[in-house]
């Protein structure tokens, strides 16, 4: 195998310096024209010949290194016979003479093969000496040699200023106020801009994704990403913290927050799912994300079989899973799922075990301060209430004596629970002509089972020692019932007493307190009292009743007052908790100890009227404390616990236990280190391997993606995959030079960014000449900039920023802007309703928008933001009618237009100066004369129409939450709003040129 010898330690020095490079010159020809029938795919292989492996090609004599005459390949590609020529005519493929010559030259040179470019460690190439100061410009110039093209002129200053501001912060120049790269790189908005890119890779979202897609808080992780870019954290450290922050020697809270990277994957709490299946899904997804986000490699295919295009094996896939097997988690977040065997949150002080696994509270600095203050105040007050004063002691003595008096002199009595008011509940019929007490009795008549529930909810009744429960009934002598039942709701309905035959199904069969038989039915034709000791229906002293049910089988019965028969002494004692109760009884007996006094006094302090204000204040402070605690954000974190066993799953089948047990290891073909050693490797080792200077993929993947942020395309066009299925870079030397520079700068992200944007290449105009457009439609030469539609989030940010609505708050909980009603209609378990923010959170940046995976906000979705179910390296840039509808009619944009118009109207009376301001804000240029005329006409037409229908004008300017100024002419504002809407909807507005 050609890959097995490849390790970090092996370099293919000189590969790129050779006169002909297999990767650059030969592979594309063979790949395009030959591999389909003579490549890795066994099923479609012709003549048993494969040309993708040197040995195989030589064995079949297709290639004889150095010998053109004996090489069949040369014969066939040059044949003039239709039946012989390769590629065959029906393939519609044809080699050019230049390609034929290249192949011949290559065979002459010995037909050397190379491993895939991105699997070879990058070596810093020499910068071509073409007279430019900036290395990037020299590389691009080298690529232009012989193309007949040159770099385009720099764009005009206004365009560059607008470009730089958008590219570095995602915000318009109007808000940032500068195009100075250093100032913009130092702005906190730089971190936000970079986070939009990173969060796609990290598949960060606010919800669980699978099934019910519920909300769980991981927003501190999002803020960690923003802050890391702002602090210019070295990229290797950034990677390491996310994969293994929890494994650091003394992890900081920030390290733990970073480790949420491993936990923001989709999880399920669907009833009935299998723990094991979902654990397998989570592990597989983590390997996909880890390889995709950090390595720019797609290992996903290896879940079921060895990779078809890249040398990743299924064993590599599962060995990488094993790195994550120590993560404290469940598969099914239901009662059936279980955490790793032996995992115990008690071993992780400071962490909680939330609904979705371990979490960490992450208070903001303000919250931390407030909490300390509230707690201090509370403790001070509590200490104060514990002090004895003569007034308190005298009141205490008085209270004790009163209680004692009640106990000694008390008599049994009825306490009514239910009277007239509750009887008609549940729509029951009542009578007034035959009642036991009050003015109503309830009548229940039925051939069989009939039941009504009556409510004591408003005044839950606490039972005391020796209580009897009673209800008055009148049985119709002409139509007597067969059975009567009283039911009491304590913590459930299992408290039943019954009289007569055993026909009512509730509790039937039991002889316990949930189905207590009292005796025969009472006499008919008169009011009788049904009585049952509370204890015998399972309601001891201290129990609370909130509801009763009158149940009968057949007949006609009047039901009236219900209550309990009790006595004061019991009531007094029941009102005390165990310790003061015992103490009071000791006092009664005349032998109180000091301890008894203390208990009673302690109790008294909780009810003493003189302490009421202090108690109220304490209650309020407690509430504040709770509020601060519950409003503190928390995040899922990675905790390391007992690793699960990882086996290779044949065909990815989690039910198949036959695979070999695997330990953590890095992909074999890429590593000589990172293989299983005596000590089990950890995620920290994985991070070290990924961020090793020798890893050929990590820096290239990141550099390529950062390049794409500033040009719209990567130097290798496939941002997801640098492997065989990816794209040969347009400028491989430049990519390698940048990657090496990045690593050697100490993985300095801001350095890399600054390097790119200070090049001439970056500052070129994006207007292509027709000839350049024709000859290089995909801009492979980089002889111009690429115009780029803004990403979804920045389209929103721009509209809010130019109108002055944007709330620039950095980080924090997610925001919920306007969203069409019913958009969550299909979200289930439970059903839920979107609650938009009606405060300043309405106007936060797009990256803070609530990210509901299964129903992503339609604005984000329409403009190609991914749902973040999976690691996403590149967004599409679509152009659809749905986008037009969104920008036209989403209240966010209508409101932004209206608020912008309000400012224009306030600042200038005439439309022309208004347009000057608006153009400057949106497009950073003055309007042309033609534009001015066009928009003035539009304004005048709208003005005329709104004058005729001022009510419509008022309606339009009422869109959104933002307040209207007191003195405003609705017609003028509405007409101006139409103009600003038109401007916000321009392609130029949402494009960075």
């Amino acid at each position: 195998m050609r890959f097995t010898s490849l390790t970090f330690l092996t370099t293919c020095a000189g590969a790129l310096a050779a006169p002909l490079s297999y990767n650059r010159d030969i592979r594309p020809i063979l790949s395009e024209n030959c591999f389909a029938c003579h490549g890795p795919d066994k099923a479609s292989r012709e003549a048993k010949l494969r040309l993708d492996i040197r040995e195989a090609a030589i064995e079949k004599e297709a290639i004889i290194p150095g010998d053109l005459k004996k090489s069949d390949l040369i014969f066939y590609i040059n044949s003039e016979d239709e039946d012989e020529i390769m590629p065959p005519p029906e393939s519609h493929k044809k080699l050019t003479q230049a390609q034929k010559d290249t192949l011949a030259e290559w065979i002459k040179q010995g037909a050397p093969y190379e491993a895939h470019w991105s699997f070879i460690p990058a070596i810093r190439p020499d910068v071509p000496a073409l007279g430019e100061k900036h290395p990037i410009d020299n590389f691009i110039k080298a690529g232009l040699k012989g193309s007949g093209h040159e770099m385009s002129q720099p764009a005009d200053k206004a365009t560059i200023d607008r470009r730089v501001s958008f590219d570095l912060t995602g915000l318009p120049l109007h808000l940032t106020g500068t195009s100075d790269p250093d100032k913009l790189l130092a702005s906190p908005h730089f971190g936000e801009r970079m986070a939009v890119f990173w969060l796609d890779l990290a598949r960060y979202a606010d919800t669980t994704g699978y099934h019910s897609d519920k909300v769980r808080d991981v927003t501190p992780y999002r803020d960690y990403v923003i802050n890391s870019f702002n602090k210019n954290k070295p990229y290797d450290q950034f990677v390491t913290e996310q994969l293994a922050g929890d494994l650091f020697e003394n992890p900081t809270p920030e390290n733990y927050v970073a480790s949420a990277f491993n936990r923001v994957n989709q999880v399920s709490e669907e009833g009935g799912i299998q723990d094991k299946e979902y654990i397998a899904k989570y592990y597989a997804e983590r390997v996909r994300t880890t390889s995709g986000a950090f390595l720019g490699a797609t290992m996903g295919c290896a879940e079921c079989h060895d990779h078809k295009f890249d040398p990743f094996t299924a064993k590599d896939f599962y060995s990488m899973q094993a790195f994550f097997s120590d993560i404290y988690e469940k598969g099914a977040y239901t009662g059936h799922g279980s955490y790793n065997k032996g995992a115990d949150i008690k071993n992780h002080p400071g962490f909680k075990l939330g609904k979705y696994g371990p979490t960490l509270d992450v208070p903001s600095p303000e919250q931390e301060k407030a909490l300390v203050k509230v707690q201090a105040e509370k403790h001070a007050l509590e200490a104060k209430t514990k002090k004895d004063s003569p007034e308190l002691l005298s009141a205490f003595n008085k209270w004790t004596n009163e209680l004692l008096g009640k106990i000694v002199s008390s008599k049994p009595q009825d306490v009514v629970i239910l009277e007239d008011a509750e009887l008609p509940l549940g729509g029951a019929k009542t009578v007034t002509n035959n009642v036991h007490s009050g003015s109503l009795a309830r009548i229940q008549t039925s051939g069989e089972l009939i039941q009504h529930i009556v409510d004591a909810n408003k005044k839950p009744v606490t039972l005391t020692e020796g209580d009897t429960l009673y209800t008055w009934v009148w049985l119709d002598p002409k139509n007597p019932p067969k059975q009567l039942m009283l039911q009491f709701y304590g913590k459930n309905w299992d408290h039943r007493a019954w009289w007569g035959e055993d026909l009512i199904p509730y509790g039937k069969g039991s002889k316990k307190s949930d189905h207590h038989k009292v005796g025969k039915l009472p006499a008919t034709g008169k009011w009788v009292r049904l009585e049952v000791p509370a204890k015998s229906v399972g309601l001891p002293a201290g129990s609370k009743i909130t509801q009763l049910a009158y149940t009968q089988f057949g007949g006609s019965v009047l039901w009236d007052q219900a209550g309990r028969h009790t006595n004061d002494a019991n009531a007094v004692l029941a009102g005390l908790s165990e310790k003061p109760r015992k103490a009071l009884l000791s006092v009664k007996k005349g032998k109180p100890t000091d301890q008894d006094r203390k208990e009673l006094l302690t109790h008294y302090r909780t009810i003493a009227p003189s302490l009421a204000p202090a108690r109220m204040k304490i209650a309020e402070l407690t509430k504040q404390e709770e509020h601060l605690k519950t409003n503190t954000r928390s995040t899922l974190v990675t905790l390391s616990t007992v690793p699960r066993t990882i086996k290779l799953l044949p065909r990815g089948d989690w039910t198949d236990d036959s695979g070999e047990v695997l330990l953590p290891a890095a992909p074999e073909f890429l590593s000589s280190e990172g293989q299983p050693s005596k000590e089990r490797l950890t995620r920290l080792d994985l991070a070290k391997w990924i961020t090793a200077k020798e890893n050929p993929l990590t820096a290239r993947a990141f550099t390529n993606r950062v390049w794409a942020l500033f040009f719209g395309t990567g130097l290798s066009r496939d941002l997801q995959d640098l492997g065989n299925q990816g794209q040969w870079p347009t400028h491989p030397e430049l990519l390698d030079w940048l990657s090496v520079e990045f690593v050697e700068s100490g993985w300095d992200v801001k350095h890399l960014v600054k390097l790119i944007i200070t090049s001439k290449v970056y500052r070129q105009s994006s207007n292509a000449s027709p000839q350049l457009m024709e000859e290089d439609p995909y801009n492979n030469l980089y002889a111009r900039q690429n115009p780029r539609r803004l990403p979804a989030e920045f389209i929103r940010d721009n509209a809010l920023a130019v109108s002055g609505l944007l709330n620039p708050q950095l980080g924090g909980a997610s925001a919920r802007p306007y969203q069409p009603s019913g958009y969550y209609a299909q979200l289930n378990f439970p059903k839920r309703k979107y609650q938009q923010h009606n405060d300043e959170n309405q106007y936060r940046r797009g990256l803070y928008m609530h990210w509901q995976r299964s129903f992503l906000h339609p604005m984000l979705a329409a403009f190609d933001a991914p749902a973040r179910e999976e690691c996403t390296a590149a967004r599409e840039s679509s152009n659809t009618p749905l986008q037009a509808l969104n920008q036209l009619n989403d209240p966010t944009f209508v409101e932004a237009a209206r608020v912008l118009a309000t400012e224009l109207v306030a600042e200038e009376k005439a439309i022309k100066p208004r347009l000057q301001i608006a153009f400057k804000r949106l497009l950073n240029r003055p309007p042309s004369g033609e534009e001015m005329t066009l928009l003035t006409e539009l304004f005048n037409k709208q003005l005329k129409r709104y004058k005729a229908a001022p009510e419509d004008a008022k309606k339009l300017i009422a869109t959104g939450l933002a307040l209207l100024p007191d003195k405003v002419d609705p017609v003028d504002l509405a007409a101006t709003t139409t103009v600003t809407r038109a401007l916000l909807n321009l392609q130029e507005t949402i494009t960075r040129y």
């Binding site: 519609h92 457009m773 024709e774 209609a825 840039s877 009618p881 709104y946 130029e988």
Partner: protein, 482 residues
């Protein structure tokens, strides 16, 4: 719109396309230029035309999850007889089973759960689970020898819809939009609706890639319609903006965009202009489309009671008819929930209840309106299910079948397909397609053929390669052509 401006558009678009027409097929160019080259088969450029088109439009009733061919349409008395026996090793020999985890003798055959009956003049065997489909058996053509290359849902669905297992290639609807253009300027050329049966535990996600335009211009991607008051999101104007004012504003936007286009020649601007026009027209046409109050009681009843509930498969079938009536080229309905790993005896009944009657009703409804002749209806999933059991024989409520790519059944109706026939066959236990095998690429080639397109000629160059729906494969299945 002002005719002068209209002309200006065309001039600009022509300029753009002549500038960069290297990557765009002539037919696509013609269609992008709009109504004037109204894509009627007769006017298709010879480059992609092979035969007169039989179909002008397609309704794809896609059944996500892999409906069990053995339970529904592929009648196998032998499978019933051999219930509980092992799969004979010969069925698996030489097949791509290397990745299968267990040997043949561990796979036990499972009898279909419901009996079959013969229907109509054609005598087609259809399961009792699909009585309504049975009744239209003489109008449809079953293909019982379908086979695919993918065994998991998303890859197999992508494969079926786009010819490639990975997301990112244009789907059939997008290819047709690109190749044939629009027949109605007021509605999307390619419309998508999704639904899922109530009580489905294993619902697949509807990925956007299922209606993606891939590397084709994004205007060809499917437009998703939703249930409820606003069938397309943000279709309604803000309050206080009537249609005159809106038109006036849109003209302003168009003129300003035009100016920029003239200045910088960015093709995205011309697309944007077209999209705003389409958005404007949709604001009238979409609410009209979604309003079914004009449908007769008889029609509604035909589709079954759930037609009254927005978002159901039945409602979507009715809307599909309304869309093709109005000239939408490709309507893609996707109904999830057919993944019966452990729910053959339970959830499969829900699936059939929710899809059988509406699918049949759609065919009959199209027929009675004379639309079936040139509308191709396709009922298909991404693969079939294994003849052997998943689960345990003692636990009938959990019986299931696994994914199975080697044989499955689909049906087609109208649009130039022979009615009342059954084409191809699987072996006696429905394991492998054995007779007149039809690969997914063959089906794709056939669909394009019915629309008058040579599948080898409809290509788009991307990343240095000419791509097509059928990749480098596919043969038109001629025996099923009417």
């Amino acid at each position: 719109m002002n005719p002068l401006l209209e002309r200006q558009y065309l001039v600009n678009r022509r300029q753009f396309f002549s500038k960069s027409s290297t990557g765009i097929g002539v037919a696509a160019l013609a269609s992008l230029l709009g109504q004037e080259s109204q894509a009627d088969g007769a006017e298709l450029p010879a480059a992609i035309k092979r035969v007169a088109p039989k179909a002008k439009r397609v309704i794809l009733l896609f059944q996500n999850g892999g409906p069990s061919h053995l339970e529904l349409f592929d009648h196998k008395p032998e499978l019933k007889k051999r219930h509980g026996q092992s799969v004979p090793a010969s069925y698996m020999e030489g097949k791509r089973f290397s990745t299968m985890s267990a040997a043949a003798d561990k796979r036990k055959l499972l009898s279909p759960i419901e009996p079959y009956k013969q229907y109509g003049k054609s005598g087609a065997w259809v399961s009792d689970l699909m009585p309504y489909t049975g009744k239209i058996a003489d109008d449809i053509c079953f293909i019982k020898s379908m086979h695919t290359e993918q065994v998991n849902h998303a890859p197999a669905i992508n494969f079926f819809l786009s010819g490639n297992q990975l997301a990112g290639r244009p789907t059939a609807g997008a290819w047709l939009s690109y190749g044939l253009g629009s027949m109605n300027e007021n509605l999307p050329t390619f419309a998508v609706m999704t639904s899922i049966s109530k009580g489905t535990t294993c619902g697949q996600i509807f990925y956007d890639s299922y209606w993606s335009s891939g590397f084709l211009p994004s205007r060809h991607q499917g437009v998703k319609f939703r249930a409820g008051e606003s069938p397309v999101l943000y279709i309604n104007n803000p309050k206080g903006m009537n249609s005159k004012l809106r038109r006036n504003m849109l003209d302003g936007i168009a003129q300003l965009n035009e100016r920029k286009l003239a200045e910088v020649g960015d093709p995205e601007i011309s697309t944007r202009i077209a999209q705003y026009e389409m958005a404007y027209r949709m604001q009238t046409s979409v609410p009209e489309l979604a309003d079914i109050s004009g449908e007769s009681k008889a029609t509604l009843e035909q589709y079954g009671p759930s037609v009254n509930e927005p978002g159901t498969f039945a409602r979507n079938c009715l809307l599909a008819r309304r869309l093709v009536e109005r000239g939408t080229r490709f309507v893609q309905l996707m109904h999830a929930g057919w993944d019966q790993h452990r729910s053959l005896t339970t959830e499969l009944y829900n699936q059939c209840r929710d899809t059988d009657q509406p699918s049949a009703a759609l065919v009959s409804d199209l027929k009675s309106r004379g639309l079936l002749e040139d509308t191709l209806v396709i009922w298909a999933g991404e693969f079939g299910r294994t003849p052997f059991i998943q689960g345990s024989f003692d636990n009938r409520p959990k019986w299931g079948r696994d994914h199975h790519p080697h044989a499955y059944t689909i049906w087609m109706a109208g649009g130039g397909v022979k009615p009342g026939i059954s084409y191809g066959a699987s072996d006696d236990i429905g394991f492998n397609a054995v007779e007149d095998k039809v690969h997914v690429h063959d089906l794709q080639a056939t669909i394009l053929h019915l629309l008058g397109i040579d599948h080898e000629k409809l290509t788009y160059k991307f990343q240095g390669r000419h791509y097509r729906l059928t990749d480098v494969h596919g043969h038109v299945v001629k025996p099923i052509l009417a």
